[in-house]
């Protein structure tokens, strides 16, 4: 609680206590009015001061001024009532001011708390870096550390800057970055990102980036600027509040004047100025727009917070809104649905006597010194490459493959052409992927299929996308048609386009974008809106998901550009609207799910707040709602809207 909140809470308690005491004391006349004025002033003096400033600044719609008019009016009516022989209910004026202040206090407290909660979730800012100086560890600010400095990270500390481990092993908690709770083991030579927490061992890290360029700083930048881009719902409620208060104040005026005059002139009945005046004052209490306005940005903020806890960075509440309406998801293949690295998919020995391991064994040895990406996947597939076999006379045959002597025998590893040139009896394989033939001398012993492997969670990810209401999945790839068809079939994607250059992907996406707007786009209603330059009625959104390599222009072109596994790729972070911090395709559906939940809560809050306000106005106009109900409704709506928004953070 801040100092101001403590002070205001004190005032509220004192005033409430005085009000209860006064209710028990029997008083009359001027003494009674004077006594009730004490708690009123205790709880409302600052509102009175603000109201006066409102008059000075010529702001008739000032919230404080309206509250003061309403409560002083109620006070005056009580005096008038007592003069004319009634009870004189002073409590109402004091109570309305009291509850108004309770509402303000709660708003300030709840918002402060949720702000803190969400800030804690995103707390990845490193405070210091340990640098060794003359054999002692010195703590310095992370922004003072230059590239190439050796920093020390002790167990339990946050890694302050991106770098490479030089010494030590540890398990890293990457939850703050990726939302992944499983610790990641690192050893010398591994790249580490700032914002992770080292759990077990002491690490010495050679920094590779300055603080401003580090992952933690970049993520903080996105998070801090996130809610500045406002959503349609926020614009709507702001516009609504702008019209709402003057409209209600104006109707209050009409309510105070017209019905009594009508009764007097048309019906010839008593005008009942007091009754109608009271109803008008009730209107003024209802005219306060805060409960409406607070709930929407708070809901979006909670949504952004919930997303970032799951390792999903969303660049603004407008994208959260767009994400909830995604019906078409266009995906890049390599790196998004597949791992983007080549792995041994199958090994087919030619003769029964050879096992798959024998073939891999020979191939791995021949490729021992090669730097080709396929060579490293072959070496990885055979776990004991560094055994005591001898590998000599390694010769690379350009465009064909490699030959080498393994334990004295010549082994050829390469493509069809190599097999032809040595006269080995090779045959093509029916499996998709790159085929690597292996021959011992001139005898063909089998082949290895190397292919880009589908990510383990990809199929489930697409299924959950469909459950989230996505009705069209499209895969775009620069890869060959054969490969694309196989991946599409395996994942159950019905639409794909292959052999696309990066520029073709933009064109392909544009076609999909136009199609998803479809016939609806040509309706008269949308045409009018289009002429006005507004396109927001078109509800279905198209998202593009890519790994950020080569597809920055496509990311930028889509309604929602989602970059995955993009930590470290600047262009992707820049171009994307949503950044998934790890490369798990399942996070796409998680992001859409959070967005949809957030929008449901936003809509609930809008309908609820506006509905209760209008109900109170209607009841107030016919005299069924008094000021008590009006202020309770206002504070109650606010409390419920705030609690409703916070649900986003409680749900897992």
């Amino acid at each position: 609680m801040t100092k101001k909140q403590k002070k205001n809470l004190g005032r509220i308690i004192v005033a409430a206590f005085l009000l209860i005491v006064l209710a028990l004391v029997e008083t009359k006349g001027a003494t009674k009015a004077a006594l009730y004025a004490v708690p009123y002033l205790v709880v409302g003096y600052d509102i009175l001061l603000k109201a006066m400033k409102g008059i000075k600044n010529r702001r008739p719609m000032d919230e404080s001024l309206l509250m003061v008019i309403a409560t002083l009016g109620a006070f005056a009516l009580a005096v008038y009532d007592e003069e004319t022989g009634g009870e004189g209910d002073y409590r109402e004026a004091v109570a309305v001011m009291l509850f108004y202040q309770i509402g303000e206090w709660f708003q300030s407290y709840a918002v402060g708390r949720s702000r803190q909660n969400i800030a804690d979730l995103m707390d990845i800012r490193p405070d210091y870096a340990n640098v060794e100086e003359d054999g002692r560890l010195v703590k310095i600010g992370p922004d003072e550390v230059e590239i190439g400095t050796l920093i020390v990270v002790q167990p339990g500390e946050k890694i302050p800057l991106d770098g490479v481990v030089e010494e030590g092993n540890s398990a890293l908690n990457t939850a703050a970055l990726t939302g992944e709770s499983l610790p990641r083991d690192v050893k010398p030579g591994d790249e580490v990102l700032s914002g992770c927490i080292s759990l077990s061992g002491l690490l010495k890290i050679r920094t590779t980036k300055e603080f401003d360029e580090s992952t933690a700083a970049k993520i903080l930048d996105i998070v801090e600027n996130a809610s500045s881009a406002k959503s349609q719902s926020e614009h709507f409620i702001t516009r609504f509040a702008r019209v709402y208060t003057p409209a209600v104040v104006f109707s209050a005026l009409l309510l105070a004047i017209i019905p009594p005059l009508a009764r007097l002139l048309a019906l010839g009945a008593a005008p009942e100025w007091g009754t109608w005046g009271y109803r008008a004052l009730t209107f003024l209490v209802i005219s306060c727009p805060c409960a409406l306005v607070i709930s929407i940005p708070l809901s979006f903020f909670a949504g952004l917070g919930a997303a970032s806890r799951a390792g999903i960075l969303i660049k603004g509440s407008n994208y959260l809104e767009a994400l909830a309406g995604v019906k078409t998801v266009v995906m890049d293949k390599t790196g998004t649905l597949t791992r983007g690295v080549f792995d041994v998919d199958a090994v087919h020995p030619e003769k029964i006597a050879d096992t798959a391991m024998d073939i891999l064994h020979l191939a791995a040895h021949v490729e021992r010194y090669s730097t080709h990406p396929i060579a490293s996947s072959l070496r990885e597939a055979y776990p004991h490459e560094k055994d005591d076999c001898t590998v000599e006379d390694v010769t690379e045959i350009a465009g064909q493959g490699i030959k080498a002597k393994v334990n004295g025998q010549t082994v050829y590893v390469g493509n069809d052409k190599l097999m032809e040139s040595i006269g080995a009896k090779w045959h093509p394989c029916t499996r998709e992927g790159a085929t690597i033939h292996v021959a011992l001398g001139s005898e063909y012993i089998g082949h290895i299929i190397i292919a880009d492997v589908i990510k383990p969670g990809a199929k489930g990810a697409l299924l959950s996308l469909k459950q989230k209401g996505v009705n069209r999945l499209v895969m775009l790839t620069g890869d060959m048609k054969k490969v694309a068809a196989k991946v599409a079939a395996e994942l159950g994607i019905d639409e794909y386009q292959s052999e696309l250059l990066p520029a073709d992907k933009v064109t392909a996406l544009e076609k999909i974008l136009a199609a998803s707007k479809g016939e609806k786009y040509l309706s008269l209603e949308n045409l009018i809106l289009a002429v006005k330059g507004r396109h927001e009625t078109v509800k279905a959104k198209t998202a593009f998901v890519g790994d950020g390599i080569n597809d920055a222009p496509v990311l930028a072109r889509a309604d929602v550009g989602i970059a995955m596994g993009a930590m470290g790729s600047d262009a992707a972070i820049e171009a994307a609207d949503v950044v998934l911090m790890d490369d798990n395709p399942g996070k796409i559906a998680v992001a859409i799910g959070i967005a949809q939940r957030c929008m449901t809560i936003v809509k609930q809050n809008i309908y609820f707040a506006v509905g209760v306000k209008f109900a109170c106005l209607a009841l107030g106009a016919i005299g069924l709602a008094n000021m008590w109900l009006a202020i309770f409704a206002d504070v109650g709506v606010m409390v419920l809207a705030i609690l409703n928004a916070m649900r986003l953070l409680w749900q897992e």
Partner: protein, 72 residues
């Protein structure tokens, strides 16, 4: 030129009023107030000096909501 300032304000509608007041200030091209992060982002007009414009922004915001503060 764009600059971000820390602000202090208690109610959401007051934040919206501050945003409007800041937008109307001379020398300000555009302004957004983010109530949730308590930040005001000001885009200054061409050639405007922030240190000269910001006191005016602050004064205008004080007019619509006395109980606010901009730390600049």
């Amino acid at each position: 030129m764009k600059k971000t300032y820390k602000i202090e304000v208690d109610c959401a509608n007051c934040a919206n009023l501050m945003e409007e007041a800041a937008k109307k200030t001379e020398g300000v091209k555009d302004a957004t107030v983010n109530f949730m992060t308590l930040k005001m982002k000001v885009e200054f007009a061409e050639g405007a000096d922030p240190s000269e414009v910001m006191p005016r922004v602050r004064a205008n915001c004080k007019k619509v909501e006395d109980d606010c503060e901009i730390y600049c």
